[in-house]
Every structure is written in structure tokens, then in C-alpha cells.
């Protein structure tokens, strides 16, 4: 696992010093990191253009909310999150299998359709989901520690998947699906797997959201929510986990800073997105990662240059 663990521990210490305003931003960033890395697994590493991430998040959020209202303690949160993840995994099967044959644009629209169907189901869920008004009074059990654990979990899972044989198969599918199939990669299985893992992590993010923000409504998990995650993924780099993390951080901070400007903020987002797409479509980091290996190599390279100069000099 190539993460700067040291850096993560240092951030953990900060938790006592931030005011609640910044804490909200922090938790939001954590939720977005989980969403972004899971979406990156589907879009960036397996090349399946999914616009339906918000649907999976909503499944996690509602499951957690319902369970927490019955069992308002940590076990409730845990069980709710697990139930949500299992349900989202099942739902992702329903999404992945019909869309196996679709490419690019069609896949995007189909996933969007599924997300909307999930949202409409939530609206029509009767007393279980309380319709369009949503569920309120959800106990606030999420905090920095839990969010941090969730983020580490999500990033670990995705990073390990990518570096495994399954991950290499997914990347092969992204690069050239027909060639991958010719090479014997079971595209069906790996596409479904990518969707399932991505959906489950999105449900985890939904659980985090539900147990922090007291209220959830179907309209929170609409197309715009999916787009927001997509923007983070694209900005950070499609195919880069570190990119998704950095993207979440940067955009989370920007959102807070530009909060007062409302519509102007979205206009700026949109313009920046267009400019990024025209001039650097691979995003900030492309598909590069920041890892301990690269860091060490960078350090020794500089020392090496100095040694060369000495030898020549």
C-alpha cells in the first residue's frame, strides 16, 4: 500500500483545533474522497462511464438512516452501513448486468436513468422513506475519527484492487475492451465487480452523510450530486487515486471559500471544467499516483545529481 501513512496520522491530531464550520467542510471532504475514489474505480480504472453514483449513495444513506432510527447507537451505524453496502452491491448488479454491452454515451445515460429510478423509488417509498420530505432526526454519530477510518478503508480497498490481478484486468478493459476480451479477460465479471465495489463504497459515503447531517432527502441525491462527484474525479485525474483525494480537498476548500457567491460559483466551476477539458482532459494528475516509491526516487535523484556534479567537477 503506497500511501503516506505518516501524513495521515498527523492530520488526525488536528481534530481538536478546528471550529465546527471547518469540521463540516472536513467531513464533507472525507465523504467526497470516498465517493471520488469509488467513482474513479468505475470510470477511471475500468472505463465505465457511470453517471449514477448518487443513486448508490442514497441507498447507503437511507439504509443507515432507517437502521439508526431504530437503533441509535454505534452498532446501529455499523449495521446500517453494512446493510446499505449490501443493498447497494445488489443494486449495482441490477445496473451492471443490463448495461454490459453499452459503451460510452449510452452507458452514461443508462446509469443516469438507473440513478433517477432509484431516486423516484425513494420518493415513492411510503412510510419507510417518507417520500419527498425525506428522513429527519437521524442521530449524529459520525465524527472525524469515523470519517477518517472510512476514508482509509475506502482508499485501501481501491488501491489494493488496482494493484491486484483483478485491477490489472479492469485497466485492460479500460484501455481496449475488445483486446482485453481477446486476451481472455472475463470482461463481464470484472465490470460487474468494479461496479459492485464502487457502489458499496458509495453506500458507505451515504452512510457517512446520513449520520452527520441529520436529514436526508431524495433531492439531495439527484443528478447534480452525481455530477459533483464526477467533477472531483475529472479535476483530480481520471485514473489517479491521489488525484481524487487532492481533487476532493481542493474543491471542498473552494466550495467553502466561494460559498457566498452561489450562482457565480457554479458558473466558475462550469467554465473551469470546460477549460480543463479542452487543455488538460486527463485532469490534474492524469493517471499518476503519489507514492512512497516515487517520493524516495525523487529524493535519491536529487542526491544523485549532486554526486554527478561532484564527480565531473
Amino acid at each position: 500500500m503506497c500511501l503516506a501513512i505518516y501524513g495521515i496520522v498527523a492530520v488526525l491530531i488536528q481534530t481538536g483545533l478546528l471550529s465546527s464550520f471547518y469540521q463540516i467542510t472536513l467531513i464533507n471532504v472525507c465523504i467526497n474522497i470516498v465517493l471520488a475514489v469509488s467513482l474513479n474505480l468505475i470510470i477511471g480504472f475500468t472505463g465505465q462511464f457511470s453517471l449514477g453514483h448518487a443513486g448508490f449513495m442514497s441507498i447507503g444513506a437511507y439504509a443507515t438512516a432507517i437502521v439508526l432510527r431504530m437503533m441509535p447507537n454505534m452498532y446501529g451505524l455499523l449495521i446500517g452501513a453494512i446493510v446499505g453496502m449490501i443493498l447497494a452491491g445488489v443494486a449495482s448488479l441490477a445496473v451492471a448486468i443490463p448495461t454490459l454491452r453499452l459503451r460510452g454515451d449510452y452507458l452514461a445515460i443508462a446509469t443516469l436513468g438507473f440513478s433517477e429510478i432509484i431516486r423516484i423509488i425513494m420518493v415513492n417509498g411510503g412510510s419507510l422513506t417518507n417520500g419527498a420530505a425525506g428522513l429527519s432526526g437521524i442521530p449524529k454519530l459520525n465524527d472525524w475519527t469515523i470519517s477518517f477510518v472510512a476514508v482509509v478503508l475506502a482508499v485501501t480497498v481501491v488501491a489494493n484492487v488496482i494493484r491486484s490481478k483483478a485491477g490489472r484486468n479492469c485497466i485492460a478493459i479500460r484501455d481496449d475492451e475488445i483486446a482485453a476480451e481477446d486476451m481472455g479477460v472475463n470482461t463481464t465479471m470484472y465490470k460487474t465487480m468494479a461496479f459492485a465495489i464502487g457502489a458499496m463504497l458509495a453506500a458507505l459515503a451515504g452512510a457517512m452523510y446520513a449520520s452527520y447531517f441529520y436529514v436526508i432527502k431524495p433531492s439531495t441525491f439527484n443528478f447534480n450530486a452525481s455530477i459533483n462527484v464526477l467533477i472531483i474525479v475529472v479535476f483530480g485525474g481520471i485514473g489517479s487515486i491521489t488525484g481524487s483525494i487532492i481533487g476532493s480537498l481542493v474543491l471542498g476548500v473552494l466550495t467553502t471559500m466561494l460559498q457566498d457567491l452561489a450562482y457565480l460559483r457554479m458558473i466558475v466551476y462550469a467554465v473551469v471544467l470546460i477549460i480543463i477539458m479542452i487543455f488538460r482532459p486527463q485532469g490534474l494528475l492524469g493517471d499518476r499516483e503519489f507514492s512512497m516509491r516515487t517520493f524516495k526516487r525523487w529524493m535519491t535523484r536529487r542526491k544523485g545529481t549532486a554526486a554527478d556534479d561532484k564527480a565531473e567537477g
Binding site: 449510452y106 423516484i120 458558473i267 466551476y269 467554465v271 477539458m277 479542452i278
Partner: protein, 292 residues
């Protein structure tokens, strides 16, 4: 029985709107293989331009319609030149994301300048009601339907009888071959965008007159449904979009009328997924084989 006929009448006006917007989607997809997510928002801008013409400048119906169509035509061409042309050779995802970004841009620019609240059209058409038996038909419904049919016929004539229309079909079939034949591909693409956007603008202003209220986010759901209509009829096929628009409107009105008004959207999305699974090329579309 009466309710059934009434629903058919309602679905005809809804269908005309969907067809006009779906035509834009299908033409653009046919020619550059891009789902123009911003198309629904061009329809919304058309509604707002119509609002400005009718309420602020006190124009009559026909001048307002013409001004709106010209306005959205220009907007469509600008969007194509600025945002889509640089990405002609880029990956699908990049183009799609740009389209989404343009959509967001249009929505929030309108929100910024016109406010997020709904705006109401002032009455510009007589609101006469006709009764055919027990079925109620308004003058506005008839007008919308007739104008839409007229626009569809004009478009069809343009595409099949004129040289530019022929060029459009050629570029859709094979852009490189068309270029070799001496067709100015860039200009053809711009004209396609112009036509599609003009039709969407017409749909927008007519919806504004019919439903009386408009808001900056009114483009997303009808845009989606019009796209589903285009897919149903076969993306890239103009007659397909015409059929698709009316069929989707029919299904939506029937589900809304007889089953549940909340579920009608879900049914249309489910229909999309079913189409994509069983016949992704749609009713009249062409199945493109992917070459390795």
C-alpha cells in the same frame, strides 16, 4: 373512453415538444456522435428568450417565435465553436463532460441574470377552447401541434432536398469520406447545431406559452425524455426522432393519467434501459458494428 381521448390530445402537444427537442439531439449525435447534454438547456434558454420577447418587449407571437429561434440558433453555433469543436478528436468522456459543463453553465448563467424563481408568461395567444364531443382542445394545443408539424416538414425537406441537407447526411455517414468529396465538414456541423438549436428554441417558447411558467431548471427532465425519445426512434434518424417523441409522450401521459403521476418519469427511464438492452439502435436506427 373520453379520458383516453383527452389523454391522447394532451400527449400530442407534449409529443410535439419532445419531437422538436429530440430532433436536435438526434441530428447532433448522428453527425458528431456526442450526446449534447446542453440541448435541454438550449430549450430552456429558448423559453427565456420568448419570455423576454413577449413580456419585456411586448412582441406578438410570430415575431417572438422568430426572434427566439434565431437567438437559440446563434447560441447553439457559439457553443459548438467554443466548447465542442476543440474536442472533436478527444475521448468520449472528455466531450461528454464538456457537454455537462456547458449545461451547468447555461443553467446558472440564466439563474444569475434572471433569478432562480419562476417567471410567468403574459397571455399572447387567445385562449379559446373547442369541444369535440366531450373532449377539450385548446387553441394553443392546436397551434403548437401545427407549428411543430410544419417545422418537422421543413426540416425533412431541408435534409432530403437541399445540398446542405445532403451534406449533413453525408457527414453523418462518414465524415472523412465527406471531406474527401469536398464537403466543408466544420460548416456542416455548425449548420446542424444551428438547426437543432432553433427547433429547441421554438419548443421552449411554445412550452412557455402553453404552461405559462418557466424556470432555469426546466430543461433537464424534458431534455432527458427527449433524448430517450431520440434513442427510442433510433439516434441519428430524423423520422425516428419524430416517432419516438410522440410515443414517449403517449406513454408518459398514459402512465401519468392512469397509474401514477409520480411514477411516469421512472417508467420512461425504465423504458430507456429496456430499449438499450434489447435494441440499442432504436426503432429506425442503424446498427453500427464496432471494428477492431
Amino acid at each position: 373512453m373520453i379520458q383516453f381521448l383527452q389523454q391522447i390530445v394532451n400527449s400530442l402537444s407534449l409529443g410535439s415538444v419532445y419531437v422538436l427537442v429530440a430532433l436536435g439531439y438526434t441530428m447532433v449525435y448522428g453527425i458528431i456522435h456526442l450526446i449534447n447534454f446542453a440541448h435541454g438547456d438550449i430549450y430552456m434558454v429558448g423559453a427565456y428568450l420568448g419570455y423576454l420577447c413577449i413580456v419585456r418587449f411586448h412582441m406578438g407571437f410570430v415575431p417572438a417565435l422568430l426572434c427566439t429561434m434565431v437567438g437559440t440558433m446563434v447560441l447553439g453555433v457559439i457553443i459548438e465553436r467554443v466548447a465542442y469543436k476543440p474536442l472533436r478528436n478527444a475521448s468520449r468522456i472528455a466531450a461528454l463532460i464538456t457537454a455537462i459543463a456547458v449545461s451547468i453553465l447555461l443553467e446558472y448563467v440564466v439563474m444569475y441574470f434572471m433569478g432562480p424563481d419562476i417567471k410567468t408568461y403574459s397571455a399572447v395567444l387567445p385562449s379559446t377552447i373547442y369541444h369535440i364531443g366531450d373532449v377539450v382542445v385548446t387553441f394553443q394545443q392546436i397551434l403548437i401541434f401545427l407549428i411543430s408539424i410544419a417545422l418537422m416538414i421543413c426540416l425533412n425537406l431541408f435534409v432530403t432536398r437541399t445540398k446542405t441537407g445532403c451534406a449533413m447526411r453525408a457527414v453523418s455517414a462518414d465524415a472523412d469520406a465527406a471531406r474527401l468529396m469536398g464537403i466543408d465538414v466544420d460548416r456542416t456541423i455548425s449548420i446542424t447545431f444551428a438547426l437543432g438549436s432553433a427547433l429547441a428554441g421554438a419548443a421552449g417558447i411554445m412550452v412557455g406559452i402553453y404552461y405559462n411558467t418557466i424556470n432555469p431548471l426546466m430543461g433537464s427532465t424534458p431534455g432527458m425524455k427527449a433524448f430517450i425519445a431520440a434513442v427510442f426512434g433510433g439516434v441519428g434518424s430524423i423520422p425516428g426522432a419524430m416517432i419516438g417523441g410522440f410515443v414517449i409522450a403517449f406513454i408518459e401521459t398514459m402512465v401519468g393519467g392512469y397509474i401514477s403521476s409520480l411514477l411516469k418519469d421512472a417508467v420512461v427511464y425504465a423504458l430507456l434501459i429496456v430499449i438499450l438492452i434489447f435494441k440499442p439502435s432504436g426503432l429506425l436506427g442503424v446498427n453500427r458494428r464496432e471494428k477492431v
